[in-house]
């Protein structure tokens, strides 16, 4: 028995709304607008939704609140809070429920107004009792500890981290929806203010508003809908820890395992992937995830991203919307890589379109490298 319904479910609608600044809206307003846009994109309506997959930035019962907001009564409501990776796990869980016939149509949505409402990262997370006395500036300090260890172990440099930031910005400059579109140079990067060594302001994701939504159905039903379905080929997740001190080797994340499982379920390997979206909360993430997802050997990631290899025109297109570093980062970013993967596979990514993209990976990260979840998507004819 197969452990995943490979290609039997599909994303049939996708949308983003309010990336950047969206004043005057509450988080649920933004998510609701993106949801209806995704449904319009699919040619479906709210009354079709019987499975809801949603987490709100601050409302821990957001799945219930959002069903109420939309006026729907889903048979399945998944409100898990594995951080920014929640959305990849929603795709995995929705695929099982759809394939089992437990639900017929899933809505996965997220929205945040953190930039205009608070002007900083909004989080419900309480400091951990055995970390709090040492005042880590979380989440930055936790990722900084990983970056410092990676640099120590593999001799990586700030310039190599900077290559990740520069590539993200170059992609963002091709994306009209991206929040940061002004040119960025290595000198700018190296001169930027240090926050938690070795990470500076330009190693950190943006603080923006934004919303995204996708609609999933079974592939047989998807054929009758408006858009060419984007098949869910494989998805897998792994929780490893909560606080950074419980990641034994700070240079290896559970993406190595969620990724391997997702590839096996999809019947694909890294060489089959045409376009890569990874959750770049910090520059080090992109390097770690490219290694852990098999695009280069462990310890080679910092060299791998050099010379524009992941930038527009490079050998491996990575974070083609500009990523969390330059497109948007509304607290939890995991759904945006999925939407960008869909757009690339549909061939509707405009100036940033990757030619002949058939398979895409959209990888989510939650907490401080804590929860890893990988989704592999395929174009309708793939």
């Amino acid at each position: 028995m197969s452990d995943f319904p490979r290609g039997r479910t599909a994303i049939v609608g996708a949308a983003t709304f309010g990336q950047g600044k969206a004043p005057g809206y509450e988080a649920s307003d933004l998510a609701a607008i993106a949801s209806t846009m995704a449904l319009e994109d699919a040619g479906l309506s709210l009354t079709d939704i019987d499975g809801l997959f949603f987490c709100h930035p601050t409302d821990t019962m957001g799945g219930l609140s959002f069903a109420q907001y939309l006026g729907i009564r889903p048979k399945a409501t998944d409100n898990n809070r594995t951080g920014g990776s929640a959305f990849q796990t929603y795709v995995e869980h929705a695929a099982y429920l759809l394939d089992a016939g437990a639900i017929d149509c899933a809505l996965i949505a997220y929205g945040s107004n953190q930039a205009t409402a608070a002007g900083k990262l909004v989080s419900t997370v309480q400091p951990m009792r055995y970390e709090a006395p040492y005042r880590p500036l979380n989440p930055v300090s936790s990722y900084a500890l990983a970056a410092a260890r990676y640099m120590h172990q593999y001799g990586a440099t700030r310039e190599q981290l900077g290559e990740v930031a520069l590539a993200a910005r170059k992609w963002a400059m091709l994306n009209p929806e991206a929040f940061k579109r002004d040119a960025l140079t290595m000198d700018d990067y190296l001169a930027s203010r240090m926050v938690s060594d070795p990470l500076s302001v330009l190693d950190c994701c943006l603080v923006t508003d934004g919303a995204a939504a996708v609609v999933m159905t079974r592939a047989d039903r998807a054929r009758d809908l408006k858009r060419s379905p984007i098949k869910v080929m494989g998805a897998a997740a792994e929780t490893h820890h909560r606080e950074i001190g419980w990641l034994e080797d700070l240079t290896v994340t559970a993406a190595a395992r969620s990724g391997a499982r997702a590839y096996r379920r999809a019947g694909l390997e890294p060489a089959d992937i045409d376009v890569v979206q990874v959750y770049d909360a910090f520059t080090i993430n992109t390097i770690l995830f490219l290694e852990d997802l098999g695009f280069c050997p462990k310890g080679e990631g910092a060299r791998f991203v050099q010379d524009g290899r992941i930038a527009p025109g490079g050998a491996l297109p990575v974070n083609t919307n500009g990523g969390g570093l330059s497109c948007c980062h509304p607290g939890m970013y995991g759904l945006f890589p999925i939407v960008e993967a869909v757009r690339q596979l549909r061939g509707e990514a405009g100036d940033r379109q990757v030619a002949d993209a058939r398979f895409a990976i959209a990888h989510g990260n939650g907490g401080v490298l804590s929860s890893q979840a990988t989704v592999i998507l395929g174009a309708g004819d793939a």
Binding site: Y134, R135, L145, R149, H152, M194, D197, P198, G245
Partner: protein, 125 residues
């Protein structure tokens, strides 16, 4: 004897000037942070032992503050007994703390609470 109030007991030891960690009687594995149940095995056989206080810096960062507020160091220390903990190294420039540095635990009072911090170990100073 089962440990019944891991956090409270840990803090009470600290207040007495003792840095204690746990060890599972069955597996011999040391555990930090304090728990009622051993991770991985689920054994309810955790006992308190005195930590040696010896450790090695596994990773380090400096949280940069706007002067005059001082920047400070945050480290992960691998204890000689095995577990890792977050802490800070005191008595040196926060940026001078390096990965691999040998450190020794000390209990300090921080806002009325006893807290474990580290000094650079004499041998590596």
């Amino acid at each position: 004897m089962d440990v019944t109030h891991p956090d409270a007991e840990f803090r009470a030891f600290l207040a007495q000037g003792r840095f204690m960690i746990q060890r599972s009687k069955g597996s011999g594995a040391h555990v930090f942070y304090p728990r009622a149940v051993a991770p991985g095995t689920g054994a309810r056989d955790l006992e308190w032992i005195q930590a040696s206080g010896r450790g090695v810096v596994y990773s380090t960062t400096v949280v940069r503050k706007k002067p005059p507020e001082p920047s400070y160091n945050v480290v992960l220390v691998d204890l000689a007994e095995g577990p890792r903990m977050m802490s800070r190294v005191e008595g040196v420039d926060p940026a001078a703390v390096t990965i691999g540095m040998a450190v020794q635990a000390r209990i300090v009072d921080q806002d009325g609470e006893p807290v474990v911090v580290f000094d650079v170990a004499e041998a590596s100073a």
